[in-house]
């Protein structure tokens, strides 16, 4: 069995997002606690150049990388899981957007707007 391409994209995207969260935490620690790469390196038993390589991009990061870097600044990840159906959808996925695509005629613009607002209200009430 082969891992589907879309699953691999999702994993890579997830790694990129974690990278951003961790790097921003490191920047915050640098600004507020005067922490630098040398101190991070010392705390996790690596050389400063290894830390710089690690910070240059997310693609070789593991869960241990995340843990090590955050431990060095006295922090850790806080995890939560969001199912796709619970995630707020962008307008692109809104039911009214489907209606808009199906009815491109300019004469129904006002009706379409009504539908859009009604759909939006329904979604908002369901939250």
């Amino acid at each position: 069995m082969n891992r589907p391409y879309e699953i691999a994209v999702f994993a890579a995207r997830n790694r990129n997002r974690v990278y951003e969260v961790v790097v921003k935490a490191l920047e915050k620690a640098a600004a507020e606690k005067n922490i630098n790469r040398k101190a991070i390196a010392k705390a996790i038993g690596r050389s400063p150049s290894q830390v710089s390589t690690t910070l240059s991009g997310p693609s070789n990061w593991t869960l241990d990388t995340v843990s090590d870097l955050l431990r060095a600044i006295g922090a850790e990840m806080d995890y939560s899981v969001v199912f796709d159906e619970e995630r707020h959808k962008s307008n692109m996925y809104h039911p009214a957007a489907q209606y808009e695509r199906a009815q491109p005629d300019a004469t129904i613009v006002s009706a379409m707007t009504t539908v859009t607002l009604a759909e939006l209200a329904k979604v908002e009430m369901a939250r």
Binding site: V9, A12, Y19, E27, A30, S59
Partner: protein
């Protein structure tokens, strides 16, 4: 994306080898990270010298082989990737191969109907070439974690 880049990814995602597919998946995620407004530094996307020619490369180092997406900014926050090249095929920064790929990028850019030399109507921040003028949110040339 210009057609050569789009086609390269499209072809890559159909590769029979899982490792090769993963490589293209990482590239697509790296491009997606830019599109979604993820944090950008010059380790992820940078302007190539000489800046006046407005060449940029989006960097995707791992998994090996390291890849570079050439391209330009059509306007702030709108990077148009033209094509992708394996880094190891290009030699040093000023190598003939590197310079050649910049010209190839210009050809793709032109073929896509985008304005070329001297960028009439196109975006440029000459003579300053400030990173934050090209990517206006969530971007800085260097990470703010001092050595």
């Amino acid at each position: 994306m210009c057609k050569p880049l789009y086609e390269a990814i499209d072809e890559g995602k159909l590769d029979a080898d899982e490792g090769a597919r993963d490589r293209w998946a990482q590239l697509e995620a790296d491009i997606g990270s830019f599109i979604e407004g993820g944090l950008m530094t010059d380790k992820l996307i940078k302007q190539l010298k000489d800046e006046k020619y407005e060449h940029w490369e989006l960097i995707s180092r791992r998994p090996k082989p390291s890849l570079r997406v050439f391209g330009r900014f059509a306007k702030p926050d709108v990077f148009v990737g033209t094509h992708v090249v394996m880094r190891k095929l290009m030699g040093g920064m000023w190598s003939p191969q590197y310079e050649h790929e910049k010209l190839v990028s210009e050809d793709h850019w032109k073929a896509a109907g985008l304005p070329i030399e001297p960028f009439p109507g196109a975006f440029t921040d000459a003579p300053f070439f400030r990173y934050e003028r090209y990517i206006t949110e969530n971007a800085r040339r260097k990470l703010e974690v001092p050595a």
